[in-house]
Every structure is written in C-alpha cells, then in structure tokens.
Assembly symmetry: C2
Homo-oligomer: 206 residues x 2
DNA sequence: TTCAGCAAACCATTCGGTCGGCTATTAGAG
DNA sequence: CTCTAATAGCCGACCGAATGGTTTGCTGAA
C-alpha cells in the first residue's frame, strides 16, 4: 500500500495518540502547540482537525474511554463461561494498564484531570451508565459488582503515586479482586434502598 | 477580639480556602489572579505569601490532605472500640465529603488533577504511607483494609460524574463498606506475596 | 522609625485562535 | 485514460488576550 502524503484519518489518529502521551506526561494543561509538535504537525494543521482546544480534549477523552472499553473486552477470557466474566475482564484490563504503564496517569486520573472541559462530564456520565448496563448483563449481584469495580478504580489511582515498588500490592489486589468475583456469599448483609433502580434509568435525559 | 487590618496568617488561610473553592470549581488550571481575586487580595499580595504558583498549588494540596485527615479523625466514633474503627472513620469522612458537596471535585479528583505540579507527587506518596501506618494500627487484616479503602476511593471518583441523583448508590455503598469492616470471614482466599512488607517501609527515602 | 503586608502598574512570554497561501488529492469533463 | 478545476489538508506568520512573575511604592503595625 502506497504511503500517502496526506491522510486525514491517519493524521487524526496520530494527533490523538500524541495527545494521550503528552497529557499523561505533563498534565491536562498542555498547550495545543505542544501537542501539535509532539504529533509532528503544525498548530494550524491540528486546528484543522479539531476546531478548538476543548474539542480536542473532548475527542481525547472519548478516545480514551473507547480504548479502555476495547481493552476490557479483549481481556475477557472467551473460555470463561462463569458469571462475572465481564467484571473479571474489567479488573484485568485495569491492572494490566497500570503495570504496562501505558501512561503514568492512565484513564482514571486522566479523565479526572480533564473533567472541567465542557462536555467531558456529560460524556463520562454516559460512559458510567454504559458500564452499568454492561455489568448488569454479567449475572453477578449488584453488591459484588459495585465493590469490585470501585475497588479496581481506587487501586488504579493509588497506583499513580507509586514509588515504583509496590508492584506487590497491585499484584495482590489484582488476584484478590479476581477471586472475589467468585465469592459464594455476600460480603456483608446490607439491603439496598427499595426505590433504587439499577442500572440507573436514562429517562432523566432532558 | 479586634479585627486587625493586616493579619498574614488569616490572609494565608483566606487564600488557601479560596483556592480550594476555585480549583474545585474550575479545575487545576486556574490563574493565580483568579484565585487572588476570589480571596479578595491582589496578585502581588498573594505572591507575597506564596512565592510562585507551583508553591501555592503545593501548599494547597498539602492543606487538603491535612483537612481530609482531620475529617477522618473527627469521623471516628469515640465510643467505637471494635477493630476497624479508623477505617470506618475513613469511610464516613469520604462519603460525607461527597454528600455535603464540599466541592464537586473533592480530595481524590483534586489531587489527581494537580499531581503534575513538582513536589505534589512526592507529597501524596508520603500521605499514602501515613495512611498505611494509620490503618496498620487498626487491628484489621490487610485484605479488608485494602479492599474497603480502595473501594471508598473509587466510589469517591464515581461520585463526581453524578447526574446528581445516585444518592442512593452512594448511600448504599457507604453502609455496605461500613458493614464490611465487621466481616468475620475473608472476602476471598488469596495469599499475599511472601516478601511483601506492609505498610511499605520508608527506608527508600534517600 | 523601620519593616512586613499588600496593592497596582508593569513586563516578557505564552496561549488559543485566525488568516492567507501553498500543495496533494480527487472528482469530473473530455 | 488524461488533463484540469476545485477542494481539502496543512503550514507558518500573525493577533489580541491572558498569564506568571517583578518592581515600586504606600501604609499599618511593632
């Protein structure tokens, strides 16, 4: 296949990838110029694909959520037919992302760092709902889903402040949370509010 | 008590409080000028107390960690003599901070948004270690501490993307995690790495 | 009287975004 | 299939606004 000198789709991807790297490294405050240079394009060129900085950040957040979702799906063991397989994929994908150090600040911290950009908050709310629906089809009870997913997220952030050496803690958490998806009894006897529908209904969209 | 027109300690506090509010509201990228105006002082006046923006942000992060620690201690039930009382204080303080909406982006998200400033990362590492030592004195087994603390942190971030209506989820998580501190059996049978010391030794301080 | 606390004008730099121009690519006419 | 006109992709200079930080000078406190 001939290498085209101008390939807008490829350029867009290049920019998004560079943005992921740079933002992870220097925080969400980076200038579009820095991102552009990291991607090997001019600022003008970048702004041709993303009409404003906010639009770029929004697209970046969207892209990261998508990529993470893909990682989760890829981490689901196809041979695994037991209840909780989806949740196990989530756990594996999360911890592997930290271990591989795809980025020092990976998806959780990054999205937190970017949440003030218009539109991102709404985006993440929808994403959260998608995960709810996803896990609702997993066959597990709500309690286990919530505890394990939240603990995974919490471990992800905790993994950021690493001296670089608590691999052991992360490894332990990974195995522990995976094992917890097979638990035969509830972790505690607490009844949920009677009027609580889960996953949260999306009827409150105006 | 007479109100002094010039009170450096009070001014410093005012600035820190204003910074907390403003950063929570508009993200970590706010200008020192904005913070200064929110605090009712001039930029020059602010820079008299904090020699640079980074120093201000660092002091801010330090202050937030301190405040949160104080909230945790205040949330420990003095009549509670059972094992896990410290952890229960942590859970209560975290969820109450979300509920009271002290800030839309409270301590976890905020620190994540600010982690790229020089010194903050180191600061949070030390803070994490302090919590480890704190909880190690709690009498609970490592497994419960880790799961419950991480789940609490995870729930804190999840609480940010609220449509404003999953109070029920937060309330449920709060009660659930509190109940889990009383669990009589392990959540899962996973052995920890043999060569793992916890809390992590602080000998790696150079 | 002296100095810390603070204000306000000031400065160099950087930022997000626009604009005009150049060129690779493509659609369409012949 | 070829030539051409139109367009999309991209660059780099440019602009006004905003930013972090400095300086100068005033004033209340000790």
């Amino acid at each position: 296949m001939a290498v085209r000198e101008r390939d807008p789709a490829r350029t867009r991807r290049t920019v998004l990838d560079a943005a992921t790297r740079v933002v992870a490294e220097k925080g969400a405050g980076v200038s579009i110029d820095t991102i552009a240079r990291a991607a090997g394009v001019s600022k003008g060129g970048l702004l041709h694909h993303f009409r404003s900085r906010d639009e770029l950040i929004l697209a970046l957040a969207e892209d990261m959520l998508e990529q993470f979702a893909a990682m989760v799906h890829a981490a689901v063991d196809p041979a695994d037919r037991a209840e909780g397989r989806l949740l196990r994929g989530y756990v594996r994908a999360s911890f592997d992302a930290i271990r591989d150090e795809t980025s020092p600040a990976e998806h959780v911290a990054m999205t937190a760092a970017v949440v003030n950009v218009p539109g991102v908050s709404e985006l993440m709310r929808r994403d959260k709902q998608r995960w709810e629906e996803f896990f609702a089809a997993d066959g597990l009870d709500l309690q286990r889903i919530l505890v394990i997913q939240r603990a995974t997220d919490g471990a992800s952030i905790a993994g950021l402040y690493e001296g670089g050496h608590q691999h052991q803690e992360l490894a332990y958490m990974r195995e522990l949370l995976l094992a917890m998806t097979y638990a035969s009894t509830p972790f505690a006897d607490v009844q949920q509010p009677a009027d609580w529908s889960w996953p949260s209904v999306s009827t409150d969209v105006e």
